[in-house]
């Protein structure tokens, strides 16, 4: 009896280990594959030319593999969408956690979480058929599919993430802390600004980074609404071609193991490093504030 129980436990332990190990191995293999297929491009194109080349003409003769416009497209789309999403997401979170009545909170919070589950193709579709014609007409543009539209749609995508995680952080601030502030004659607004936000800043930062990470790697939306022009934009209404959109759009037409094929994998490497950096920053922030409290703020 006792022996059996211990045996079962052992078996379960091993099973879990195998599952976890194979998951990790798969991920590791994907990363290795990514580098294996991406790195060969640098035999043909120098690092500098690849990263800072202004022209991405992978199919012309001779081809040009400069990802700078794509990279800039990704960066700009991310920055602009954060400028829209962060204030709205964080302020909504503060409203929900601190000001909304319990009933409003109970209704709105699940709706926001539901929005986070909205498939990106739906958001992209919305951007194409609703926002794009509107922008085109209202601002008299050549195309409504552009940097601004993409940023707006990505903001749409990251607001639920930012809002929901920030709200959890703010809502989790111990009541004692708030009461301590009120007891010293602080108003609710002062308490929010001086105690609640600083105390939840680690959670809010993680929320922002995760929201942004979601926007950086997002493919479908930028493929559908960013306009697809591989050039460095001069205004926020110019079309762009962020990195994920390039990969998605061109992978099917790139001949197997051609230079173009390798170049697309190299873009994948850049994207991978970019998002990993973001996740590391998120981890670091949450670690740093958890250790010491947000005392320095």
């Amino acid at each position: 009896m006792k022996y059996n129980k211990r045996l079962t436990e052992k078996i379960i332990e091993y099973l879990l280990f195998i599952v976890a190990f194979s998951a990790l191995t798969c991920v590791a293999l994907i990363v290795i594959f990514l580098f294996y297929e991406g790195l060969p491009i640098f035999e043909k194109v120098g690092f500098k030319e690849f990263f800072f080349g202004k022209y991405w003409y992978p199919t012309s003769d001779p081809p040009a593999f400069g990802i700078f416009p794509l990279f800039i497209g990704s960066v700009l789309v991310t920055i602009l969408s954060s400028l829209i999403a962060v204030p709205i997401g964080v302020m909504t979170a503060i409203y929900l956690a601190e000001l909304a009545s319990p009933i409003v909170r109970k209704i709105v919070k699940p709706i926001i979480e539901l929005l986070a589950a909205l498939p990106s193709v739906v958001i992209g579709f919305f951007g194409m058929v609703v926002v794009a014609p509107f922008l085109q007409e209202y601002f008299d543009l050549a195309t409504g599919l552009n940097l601004f539209n993409a940023s707006l749609m990505l903001a749409f995508m990251s607001i639920p993430t930012i809002c929901s995680i920030s709200e959890d952080a703010i809502y989790g601030i111990p009541t004692e802390l708030k009461e301590g502030s009120f007891a010293l004659g602080a108003t609710h607004l002062q308490t929010i600004i001086r105690v609640i936000i600083p105390a939840s800043i680690s959670g809010i930062s993680v929320a922002i980074t995760l929201g942004m990470a979601r926007a950086i790697g997002e493919t479908m939306v930028v493929l559908m609404v960013a306009g697809g022009a591989a050039m460095i934009p001069e205004s926020i209404f110019d079309p762009v071609r962020p990195m994920p959109a390039s990969i998605a759009a061109e992978m099917a037409e790139a001949p197997y193991r051609s230079d173009h094929y390798h170049a697309l994998f190299a873009i994948g490497i850049v994207l991978f490093l970019f998002t990993s950096a973001f996740n590391l920053v998120a981890d670091y922030i949450s670690y740093k504030y958890k250790e010491k409290g947000s005392a320095t703020l």
Binding site: E176, G180, F182, L184, G185, A186, T187, G293, S294, A295
Partner: protein, 254 residues
């Protein structure tokens, strides 16, 4: 009873958490520059009562107050009363030390800053004064910029006291301020209360009867949401008027 000026007069106070009544028809006086201790078994409504005195219970959803609390003759539950300025006059120290996750200096300066005081010199002076009064200055004077979270429990509670007295309230409400502390830290807090009495009116909740006997001038005994009796500490501990009080004090229950 000693003849003293009444600072707070509580009249027929009832308190409800939703449907559940937690305080029943409480009337008592709190005298100026005296220490009033509130004792009673846990769950009898001491904290609830204390939090009615600075309207801290306003923050609890679905709660309801009936009756009146006169602070210097004015009912604090009047709709016109400004709760923020009331709380500046009636400070509070909580059961669990709750320093802000900020520096030691910022913790003490907080109450002054939210009042709109900007004069740096004045703030520094007040912070030092309050920390000295709370017997914490020597412990922390070299590390005012460090996080308050790094202090020990006893130090944190003294910091919370310093923070509360920095805004110079007239009344100080203390909810079992020493319950989470070791005997040495407790002794320091008790000595502190003795000092503070000169400048403040103090209401302190404690379930430690020796502590009540040591530090208070008046004692109120709460039981199941009712104030059984209130009198000078000496009377309560030597010849209590009610049987329940005597039972509690002699340790027959609670």
């Amino acid at each position: 009873m000693k003849q003293n000026e009444i600072k707070i007069k509580i009249q027929n106070l009832n308190f409800f958490y939703g449907e559940k009544q937690a305080l029943f028809d409480i009337s008592m006086d709190i005298f100026k520059n005296q220490v009033t201790a509130l004792i009673g078994p846990s769950g009898c409504g001491k904290s609830t009562f204390l939090r009615c005195l600075n309207r801290m219970n306003d923050l609890i959803p679905n709660s309801k107050v009936e009756g009146a609390v006169y602070f210097d003759g004015k009912n604090i539950y009047d709709p016109q009363v400004d709760v923020v300025s009331l709380r500046r006059k009636v400070g509070m120290v909580f059961q669990k030390p709750n320093p802000f996750p900020k520096s030691i200096f910022e913790n003490v300066a907080y109450g002054l800053k939210v009042q709109g005081i900007k004069d740096k010199y004045l703030i520094e002076q007040k912070v030092e004064e309050s920390l000295k009064m709370a017997a914490l200055w020597d412990d922390v004077k070299d590390r005012l910029g460090e996080s308050a979270m790094g202090l020990s429990g006893g130090q944190q509670q003294r910091l919370c006291i310093a923070r509360a007295i920095a805004v110079e309230p007239e009344v100080l409400l203390m909810d079992e301020p020493a319950s989470a502390l070791d005997p040495i830290a407790t002794k320091k807090i008790e000595e502190l209360i003795f000092e503070l009495k000169k400048n403040f009116t103090i209401v302190i909740v404690t379930h430690n009867m020796q502590q009540a006997a040591r530090i208070s001038d008046y004692t109120g005994f709460f039981f199941m949401g009712k104030l059984i009796e209130v009198d000078t500490t000496e009377t309560i501990f030597t010849k209590p008027g009610k049987k329940e009080t005597e039972d509690y004090i002699t340790g027959r229950f609670g």
